[in-house]
């Protein structure tokens, strides 16, 4: 019988049924939409991840049917499993919203905010988080912490100053690569990601640290400063790879593949990890079987200049010259894909 037991959970007034052992966060993801707590450190593909950033804090207003007492503190939804009859408040709790604002502020006080020169800009979870849950200004007036940039091998650069210490890359190093040479040195706000004396991670899957990094701390050296992501066009493609699934997203500028990443789902998590050969070595269209354009959320800056259909705004509709220019652009965009 155990297999089909389901727990009834209610998140922000929306009921959902999930198997025992499901976390509040994953139950919320099943519902989807606004009530999904933001997650900066949790990563479903990485065992043991989560619990650290505290952006996913929620209030458990009723523990379960058996024990209806509320939980005394806000809990990390990514690491708290549901109970039958549990009631959770996320965006309906002012306390949660206030605490989350605090967490976002904490994540930002020592962040360099160098988005104009950061490769992650446009696909950065910290940008989204700050925009959606943060304050417009800062109350922090002290010098921000900085670190020197470090090369982790010849393909990956670590810019620790931007790191939010989510530990995802550490879990990648632990779980995807056989010898761990990537960890954390130091304590508190002096803690830093390190490969210990800048030792390269010499492993076919090491490039995945770039994809799991929610910010611009780990970037692809073959792509650095080449382009802003919103000027590039994501295309799904695959190849017959002996090492990994070979399922990737190619990021085109014109006819040139500027970078290759794994495919990410709506929560920014990769669907399947890819190998370094696919990521760094295969940058010709002829290496790949093209599947088609990648769908990009309308709200993402990456959807800039992407026309899924010709649906011009009112001002264009009225002006013949703009209409022509628009059509031209649309055709060009379609061609590129």
């Amino acid at each position: 019988m155990a297999d089909d037991v389901k727990f009834k959970v209610n998140i922000d007034g929306i009921p959902v049924e999930v198997p025992p052992g499901t976390t509040i966060l994953n139950a919320a993801r099943l519902i989807g939409g606004d009530i999904v707590p933001p997650a900066m450190c949790y990563y479903s593909k990485l065992q043991g991840s989560g619990g650290k950033c505290r952006t996913c804090l929620v209030k458990v207003s009723k523990g379960s049917d058996k024990d209806p007492r509320p939980m005394p503190k806000l809990v990390a939804s990514c690491r708290t499993t549901v109970m039958d009859g549990m009631e959770v408040q996320n965006i309906t709790s002012p306390e949660v919203i206030e605490a989350r604002k605090g967490v976002v502020e904490m994540l930002l006080i020592n962040h360099p905010l160098d988005c104009p020169i950061c490769d992650q800009a446009g696909e950065c979870h910290l940008q989204d988080l700050g925009y959606e849950h943060g304050l417009a200004s800062t109350r922090y007036e002290f010098e921000r912490r900085t670190f020197n940039k470090i090369d982790i091998g010849d393909k990956v650069q670590l810019h620790m100053t931007r790191c939010i210490l989510c530990y995802r890359c550490v879990f990648v190093a632990d779980q995807l690569t056989p010898q761990r040479v990537h960890g954390i040195l130091g304590r508190g706000d002096a803690a830093e990601i390190s490969t210990y004396i800048e030792k390269a991670i010499d492993n076919e899957f090491s490039g995945n640290v770039i994809d799991v990094c929610p910010v611009g701390a780990l970037t692809d050296k073959t792509f650095r400063f080449k382009n802003r992501v919103w000027f590039t066009k994501p295309v799904e493609a695959h190849r017959d790879c002996p090492t990994c699934s070979g399922k990737v997203t190619l990021w085109y500028k014109g006819e040139e593949v500027l970078r290759v990443t794994a495919r990410k789902d709506e929560y920014g998590e990769v669907e399947e990890f890819i190998c370094n050969t696919c990521r760094f070595e295969k940058k010709a269209t002829s290496d790949w079987v093209i599947e088609g354009p990648r769908e990009v959320k309308r709200t993402s800056v990456i959807s800039l200049n992407h026309y899924a259909e010709l649906n011009p705004p009112a001002v264009v509709k009225k002006n013949l010259m703009l209409q022509e220019a628009n059509k031209e652009q649309f055709e060009r965009a379609k061609e590129l894909l």
């Binding site: 950033c53 505290r54 605090g102 904490m106 994540l107 210490l165 954390i184």
Partner: protein, 462 residues
């Protein structure tokens, strides 16, 4: 004079259970310890009691954890999962690093066998065959003392295989700590003991279910474990007769600061704070004829209280050294017994400077796993530094309160709370002094604020 059940006779010397023989020459050796009646508890437990009966005695004693949180020890033991074929562990937390707390070190230095005896009794009760004492890495002399004591006990047949012919086996190991305050947090301690970086674990699972090497584990403070010896010797009910209400037994207090006689004292729980500070049996009053300004009663993590509130509760009752009485009034006007690190501040001490100093400590010791603690402790330290050195503004005070609130309750382990409380309570009770640092920034560099009204008796609030 006191609430609850007053001590029977204030004139007889208070009872000592842990430090009874502290002044006997050679008490650190097995031979002298044994002559003074040591290891009777092991004999009694192993020969006449079942493990369950030992747990029962500890439950009856009402003993509460002496490491800071005050969780009932017997109850903690009864939560220990007991799956078939999986080892269980007892780990003694001897990482003692909280500013103001130095009682465990004292006990281990002078009567190491009290801890070893307690470890045997407690391990027996929990069914652990391998137990560890995790000692703060800086305490190298104590580590050697304990290792020698273990060797002596083993020689005498109190450790190893088939102890006293009872069929019970126990190996005891001492592990030097990893050199961080955070390794005193029980799950960080377990990580460190496993040879990893001492980051607190995310709970659940709790150690009682999945602790050391994912096996059921109990972590207890040195003093909690040592207290099981008198509990077994005299019986849980006898032990519970000492103290008041849910604060039973005796407690080691590390007294420091501006006291005439700082040091480690064993008190009966229920002793009035005033008597502890001023009587000659204990601290003998404030040093150099000064007046008391403030007290941190339970180690640096607990809220600081001004002299008037530490001596009397808001209701006007005498404040007692018990878990309940010290906490009376909650965060508004109370504090906590914590680990018993009692720090007294005289009229010449600057509360702002002290708050900055404590915050510096927490900033330095945060493991850095969770954002509010990693970033918030450093932020508070910088703002406090600014105020202390005369560059602060009024809004900085409110900012501090707000940042402390954003940390408190939102972190993985209680270090976040421990960093927030001293700041929030100092501002709550000494706001005038903070404001004076802002309005009189220059003067604050040359002199201290002084006692002000902090010792003035308060109108009791009913």
């Amino acid at each position: 004079m006191t609430i609850g059940k007053p001590r029977l006779k204030a004139d007889i010397m208070a009872r000592k259970l842990l430090l009874t023989h502290i002044h006997v020459p050679g008490i650190h050796t097995f031979e002298v310890y044994r002559q003074q009646g040591g290891y009777r508890a092991v004999e009694k437990a192993l020969k006449t009691l079942t493990p369950e009966e030992v747990v029962e005695e500890v439950k009856k004693s009402g003993l509460r954890g002496r490491g800071g949180a005050g969780f009932p020890t017997g109850m903690k033991w009864s939560f220990l999962a007991k799956p078939e074929g999986v080892p269980r562990y007892l780990v003694c937390n001897a990482d003692e690093s909280e500013p103001g707390t130095f009682k465990d070190r004292y006990l281990m230095t002078h009567i190491p066998h009290a801890l070893i005896e307690g470890m045997i009794v407690s391990s027996y009760a929990l069914g652990a065959n391998t137990s560890y004492i995790y000692v703060r890495g800086e305490m190298m002399p104590q580590i050697r003392i304990l290792e020698r004591a273990i060797a002596e006990a083993k020689n005498a047949g109190f450790l190893g295989k088939n102890i006293l012919g009872s069929g019970y086996d126990l190996e005891l190991y001492v592990q030097p700590g990893g050199g961080a305050y955070i390794c005193g947090e029980e799950t960080a301690l377990l990580e460190s003991l496993e040879g990893k970086r001492g980051n607190p674990r995310i709970k659940p699972p709790f150690p009682a279910v999945s602790g050391l090497y994912n096996c059921p584990t109990v972590v207890n403070n040195v003093e909690s474990i040592a207290a099981t010896v008198p509990i077994i010797n005299e019986g849980g009910e006898e032990y519970a007769k000492i103290g008041i209400e849910r604060s039973t037994g005796t407690k080691l207090i590390s007294a420091s600061g501006n006291l005439n006689k700082p040091g480690v004292y064993e008190i009966e729980l229920g002793l009035p704070v005033e008597e502890f500070i001023y009587s000659d049996e204990y601290c003998g009053g404030i040093a150099n004829g000064k007046r008391l300004k403030a007290v941190v009663a339970g180690g640096s993590s607990v809220p600081i209280l001004p002299a008037n509130l530490i001596l009397k509760t808001l209701k006007g009752e005498s404040r007692l050294m018990t878990y309940e009485s010290l906490a009376d009034g909650g965060f508004q006007s109370g504090t906590m017994l914590g680990s018993g690190g009692f720090i007294a501040f005289d009229e010449d001490q600057c509360i702002v400077r002290n708050t900055w100093n404590f915050t510096r400590f927490y900033h330095h010791e945060s493991c850095g796993q969770c954002s509010p603690c990693r970033e918030g402790t450093g932020w508070m330290e910088k703002v406090l530094h600014k105020i202390e050195f005369g560059h602060g503004s009024y809004s900085d005070i409110d900012l501090l309160v707000d940042v402390s609130k954003k940390i408190e309750g939102n972190t993985i382990c209680p270090l976040g709370d421990a960093a927030a409380w001293p700041v929030a309570s100092a501002i709550r009770h000494f706001r005038d002094e903070f404001e004076w640092h802002i309005t009189n920034g220059h003067e604050a560099q040359r002199r201290n604020y002084g006692l002000a009204h902090y010792a003035d008796p308060l109108e009791p609030v009913m």
